[in-house]
């Protein structure tokens, strides 16, 4: 047994060297002119030996990239430290960093509204790098058209400024997930009571959803207690959840400015008008018949309610399909779940003479460059941004951990197209799991290779007009959603009527924006 060198000992203790944890840059020996004429391969490797830091949300694409980071190293010769935090913490740290002008995170995850809307001014204008010939080209480039419908506007463009602050990196598009098997099982009972079949299609309205929830809650079956799981938590989860109900009915929005652009001075809001009150009343009713924790659940909590078999339906984000389809964690796996567009507005609930649509909202995570980092570091960061949002990387992520791609080309791939439908989706083998303990017939031996693919059919429809709602893009977004969800929760718990709550939202929001 030889002596352990001090280095090994330190390494073993995890202390390592005086490890530089942040980024550092190794400049290219080539001049810009030389680089401009070099091959793409050379361009990728121009900052070889450097190290970057990426502050990201704990989201599947980042986990997938983390596991495949070697391919980035092979391509560019750069190291990158990827930090994954909960979205709130990312928001906090990025906020503190840019407000303090530190630049400790050259690359950061810029979630469209919570982080992008307040801090876009602190992000680099990516057009500067697009025009720079010393950078390599990626398949299809980075123009507006290569991404899904207006995703670049959502993550990159704010308040009418021509600057592009971030490229789309991941997405979480809301779809309806429901237990097809339970619907079939209890169809007869439902029909005898409600005189309509127990089915979910793209024409199913929120009123139908309410009826189904009432049915399941009253029936109290042993294998499912509630019909619906909602996510009314304080903050973004609750705002998105309620927005789906509002927009479905007459495309109601709280402000009239163009949501794709956003507005720095939104002016007076429409809360308190008739439609908003009706929507809140209906939302309260929906809450009454949904899973009891719905008011405190966000997307993770709602997902847990669904995968533990306590709810038969849950409007949730596509990225959760990976968990839903995993028989080790979810009782809804093994073909029991189906995915469809979010519910449509019910005509009888619309009072503002607008259209009934399948209101779909989403969160598009962007990837941005910190304008306070050193200039060369920012350039190296752009290489990472290009790589992480490239077609090849998106395909790799998709096949690995359940990706959420943003490029149109990915969806044109024949393998991916097959994954839209369960019957044709490519599968992978897993250790058999018995869905029902003691019942060998219920054994599941295969799961979809790209489980999120099952949600693409509905989501690709949901992100287009007239279904999609992307607002409100305002600088004080974070405080606004706290006000909104606070009052909504007060109404749902019975402390205020819908009218009082809506008027309170209007009063506080207008005060927030300095409207007299």
């Amino acid at each position: 047994m030889g002596k352990i060198s001090r280095r090994e000992l330190l390494k073993g203790l995890g202390i390592g060297s005086l490890a530089l944890v942040g980024g550092h840059i190794v400049k290219s020996p080539l001049s810009p002119t030389q680089l401009a004429y070099a091959s793409d391969d050379v361009k990728w490797k121009q900052f070889k030996g450097s190290k970057l830091v990426f502050m990201s949300e704990d989201t599947p694409p980042t986990s997938a990239i983390k596991s495949k980071i070697k391919s980035f190293k092979d391509l560019t010769g750069m190291d990158i430290e990827i930090i994954q935090e909960h979205l709130d913490i990312v928001s906090e740290k990025v906020g503190i960093d840019v407000r303090g002008k530190k630049g400790a995170y050259p690359v950061y995850y810029s979630q469209d509204k919570p982080i992008g809307a307040p801090f876009h001014a602190h992000a680099e204008d990516l057009r500067k790098y697009e025009a720079d010939p010393t950078f390599p080209k990626v398949t299809d480039g980075v123009g507006s058209d290569v991404w899904l419908y207006r995703f670049l506007d959502v993550t990159g463009r704010f308040y009418g400024e021509p600057k592009i602050a971030a490229y789309p990196y991941d997405n979480a598009i809301c779809v309806m997930m429901y237990r097809k098997d339970l619907f079939e099982k209890y169809s007869k009972q439902f029909e005898s009571e409600y005189k309509k079949p127990l089915r979910y299609t793209e024409n199913t309205t929120w009123k139908d959803v309410l009826d189904i929830s009432k049915f399941f809650k009253k029936a109290n079956f042993p294998d499912v207690k509630y019909g619906l799981a909602l996510q009314g938590r304080e903050g973004w989860g609750g705002q998105l959840d309620f927005q789906r109900v509002c927009y479905a009915h007459g495309q109601w929005r709280e402000w009239d400015f163009d949501d794709w652009t956003g507005s720095r001075k939104p002016g007076p809001c429409k809360w308190g008008d008739e439609q908003s009150i009706v929507c809140l009343e209906k939302y309260k009713e929906l809450m009454q018949y949904s899973h009891p924790d719905s008011l405190t659940n966000d997307w993770s909590g709602a997902n847990t309610a669904y995968i533990t078999g306590l709810a038969a339906m849950v409007p949730n984000y596509g990225e959760f399909a990976a968990v839903v389809e995993d028989p080790k964690q979810s009782v809804a796996a093994g073909g029991r779940t189906a995915y469809e567009l979010c519910p449509k507005g019910d005509p009888s609930w619309i009072v503002n003479r607008g259209k009934a649509v399948n209101a779909t909202n989403y969160g598009i995570g962007g990837i941005a460059i910190n304008s306070y980092s050193k200039p060369e570091l920012k350039k190296a960061a752009y290489l990472f941004v290009l790589w992480a949002t490239s077609y090849e990387t998106m395909m790799m992520v998709l096949k690995d951990v359940g990706g959420t791609p943003d490029r149109k080309r990915v969806f044109e791939d024949p393998e991916v197209k097959k994954a839209f439908v369960r019957e044709t989706a490519p599968m992978k083998n897993i250790e058999p799991v018995e869905m029902e303990k003691g019942n060998p017939a219920s054994r599941v031996t295969k799961v979809p290779l790209m489980p999120n693919g099952l949600t693409y059919g509905p989501s690709l429809k949901g992100i287009l007009p007239p279904n999609v709602v992307v607002g409100p893009k305002i600088p004080k977004f974070n405080e606004y959603i706290q006000i909104l969800t606070s009052e909504v929760q007060k109404c749902v718990s019975g402390a205020k009527t819908a009218k009082e709550a809506c008027l309170a939202i209007k009063e506080k929001t207008d005060k927030l924006h300095g409207v007299k």
Binding site: G95, E479, Q482, G494
Partner: protein, 316 residues
């Protein structure tokens, strides 16, 4: 007999300094210096910051707004609600923890397995508040929480959920979710009270206890007249210590409810966290922080006065 009596010589400069700073004060200096550095600057910085409105975008300057940040707080419903809830929070938490802590300490004092009990009772205190948050959110969860199941099964819980219920208990008390958070805090920190009170009980002079027993006093009389007065200072220490932490820690709430539902667990420190780290309005945050600090200091001074006064009160 050579000069036993000598003219006292003049003190050297060094000795004079030593005289000016008595020995015991010198011992305190390192601690005072360290604390002053780490706390005085942030304190004044916070006051300075509270007089400004922080700029959101690069290139903008902070605007001096005087006392506007403070004045606006009177209008801020969430702030006022936060203050109300904070008072509820520390009153309920502290009374329950003190009562439980003192009772348990009294009960196990002198028991056969006292040491074993102490070790076991100490365990919750060793758990990080954030882990307590996760643990209790696991236990309170409607889908798979054992505490939820238990409370519902014995009929104690009327609502269908713990953490999502904003329903006021008994109509006027804070919500069910609030009490859920309180229960987690009580579980986490009662051991601290037990520990401190137990130490104090050991210090109760044996002779006084003996005297009481000789006089034929029953256990209640001994408790009231001998034990409790002797641990008064210990109770004060425990109370103040717990009070200070109780109004500062938001780890548990952060995980359990994030201030909801319907703002029913949004005690003032949590609102402060939102303002500073969600809305990034540091000026407003500093104003709230300063008020919270004053509140804590005044409450602490109040406690100390109350307890100190009792000591002076004539006996019998």
């Amino acid at each position: 007999m050579t000069g036993e009596w000598q003219v006292p010589r003049k003190k050297t400069f060094f000795e004079r300094i030593q005289g000016a700073f008595p020995f015991h004060f010198r011992l305190m200096l390192p601690a005072i210096i360290v604390l002053a550095i780490i706390t005085l600057y942030p304190f004044f910085w916070m006051i300075w910051l509270s007089l400004h409105e922080t700029a959101m975008n690069p290139g903008e300057q902070d605007i001096f707004v005087g006392l506007a940040n403070y004045a606006n707080l009177l209008d801020d419903e969430v702030f006022l609600n936060g203050v109300k809830l904070l008072i509820w929070y520390f009153v309920i938490c502290l009374s329950v923890e003190m009562f439980l802590g003192v009772s348990i300490a009294l009960l196990i004092n002198g028991m056969k397995y006292e040491n074993l009990f102490v070790i076991l009772f100490l365990m919750p205190m060793m758990v990080a508040p954030i882990v307590v948050g996760y643990l209790y959110s696991y236990l309170y969860n409607v889908s798979f929480g054992w505490y939820f199941w238990f409370l519902k099964s014995i009929g104690f819980l009327q609502t269908d959920t713990i953490l999502a219920s904003a329903k006021p208990v008994l109509g006027f008390l804070p919500s069910v979710a609030f009490f859920g958070v309180v229960a987690a805090d009580v579980w986490n920190w009662t051991p601290l009270i037990i520990l401190i009170v137990l130490a104090g009980l050991k210090n109760v002079p044996q002779d006084q206890l003996e005297a009481a027993r000789m006089d034929g006093a029953g256990s209640w009389r001994t408790l009231w007249d001998v034990t409790l007065p002797n641990i008064r200072s210990v109770l004060l220490i425990a109370g103040i210590l717990r009070f200070m932490d109780n109004v500062r820690y938001i780890d548990t709430i952060y995980v359990l409810t994030k201030g909801g539902p319907a703002d029913s667990t949004k005690i003032l420190p949590f609102h402060l966290y939102n303002i500073s780290f969600r809305y990034f309005e540091f000026g407003r945050g500093a104003a709230v922080g300063f008020i919270l600090l004053l509140f804590i200091i005044f409450m602490a001074m109040f406690f100390v006065k109350v307890f100190k006064k009792k000591e002076v009160a004539p006996v019998g």
